[in-house]
């Protein structure tokens, strides 16, 4: 199990997509960061949501569906190791990748750009956990339903853009119609981004948004588990 985790980590570092997931949100942060006021509360939560969204919708489905397509899960089922171990290792690694991307953003934004960091660590952590769980669940469902790695990648990217739009990650929220904002709050990425904005603004995340994320995390991951095929 340790060796599996070690080898998978090495494989992840050889994957250009992993580097992209780290660098794209950082790039966005730095480009827009040059024009923010000190104490900005908008840009950093946005970059964090983009980072988690990329890992969950781009990296996760592609990796898992490719593993199934290439028969790697099937090959593992004829060894004494269960293929479920590989899934667990992958989820853990991608979680670490999402954490690393967010840590990088927080570090750069907090030091160089002087953006505001949230005062309450606990609400921020809770939002991060629920948001990541709901997004990973969506990624898992794509991995479960996609026939192969390429279509998983396509579905992930295709789903990412409308979700990012509704979540207010592609334009400032105050420029969006109220209707869209309301709809966005009922998507996992939208609830995640909105509750992070609330935390950054110094308030507590609204229970409705937390509930939305928890519901997605639970329902969608159950659906993913039901539809997942090992081969």
């Amino acid at each position: 199990m340790m060796k599996l985790a070690f080898v998978e980590t090495k494989l992840l570092t050889r994957e250009p997509g992993a580097l992209f997931s780290l660098l794209i949100p950082l790039f966005i942060l730095v480009v827009f960061g040059s024009s923010i006021e000190p104490g900005d509360t908008v840009l950093l939560p946005m970059a964090l949501a983009i980072a988690v969204g990329l890992v969950a919708l781009y990296m996760l489905p592609t990796t898992l569906a490719t593993y199934r397509e290439r028969g790697i899960l099937r090959r593992l089922s004829v060894t004494p190791v269960r293929p479920g171990n590989l899934l667990a290792v992958q989820l853990l690694l991608l979680l670490v990748l999402a954490l690393a991307a967010c840590g990088l953003l927080l570090a750069v934004a907090g030091t160089v750009l002087g953006a505001r960091l949230p005062a309450g660590g606990l609400p921020a952590a809770l939002v991060f956990i629920l948001g990541t769980a709901s997004m990973f669940a969506v990624g898992l469902l794509i991995a479960a339903l996609a026939p192969n790695g390429r279509s998983a990648n396509g579905i992930g990217v295709l789903l990412y853009f409308p979700m990012a739009y509704l979540a207010g990650l592609m334009q400032p929220v105050h420029l969006m119609p109220d209707m869209l904002i309301r709809i966005g709050e009922f998507t996992p990425l939208g609830a995640f981004a909105q509750s992070m904005r609330e935390v950054w603004a110094g308030g507590a995340p609204s229970p409705l948004l937390l509930g939305v994320m928890a519901a997605y995390a639970l329902a969608v991951s159950l659906a993913a588990a039901k539809f997942f095929r090992w081969e």
């Binding site: 060796k3 050889r14 593993y67 290439r70 004829v78 060894t79 004494p80």
Partner: protein, 297 residues
Amino acid sequence: MAVIEVTDLRKRYADLTVLDGVSFSVEEGEIFGILGPNGTGKTTTVECVEGLRRPDGGSIRVLGLDPVEDARRVREQIGVQLQQTQLPENIKVWEALDLYASFYAAPRDWRELLEEWGLADKRNARFGKLSGGQKQRLFIALALVGNPRVAFLDELTTGLDPQARRATWELIKQVRAGGVTVVLVSHFMDEVEELCDRVAVFNRGRVVAIDTPAGLAGGEHRMRFTVMTGEMTGVEGLPGVTGVSREGNRMVVTGTGDFATAVTAHLARHQVLVSDLRIDKRTLEDAFTALTGRSFD
């Protein structure tokens, strides 16, 4: 001792019967062939034996264990090369062997396998950069890294060039020499004839014959020649002759054992002059056609 015993195995998918009462047993130390055209249940049978699929009926014993109930103990002792599996593009040859070795309680030293399978100089190459033959050798090495008692090899030379196929055959013989029982799934006649001690011939979800390749082909040979001068009579009664057919002056005599010597001596005695004399062996391919009523491929 039988290492694998399959009795009356049945499997259906929806309303398609894939296996319709398959039975055979594999003895320790042999290379056992599973032969048949595509879509006759070979791979399904092997996947049931490996515990990848749950049969609808019948029983399977692998090393005395049930491959579904005692999955873990069976998997410790078998090595599998599956059809159409790949590895991650970016994994290095040594990493794959090292990783798969870590799955087993008592693995072989993977460095030895690198040498044996001619992969030592590809040790640090990534899987995606290997040639077809190198990938195939890596898959076989991975099937052996757990130090298995039984190795399952499914269509292992598909897609290889003739030279690489010959080389792979030699290596499979070495695997058996190392004491590993080999179950070889193939739709290549020549491969089965070259390698297998015994063969089960599959057709439409059933085993239609189990024998040695020579036994399946039968001891029968065929002699063809053209009669130039003289009248040929009395060949039917010669020892070993099983059939005579004539088309104009073209003759076909089939028989077993030393019948050809008897026929030529007979012809000489009766001053029959022949030309274009040829003797062919009946092949496994002929036997297959006779058994299944369809030609191969």
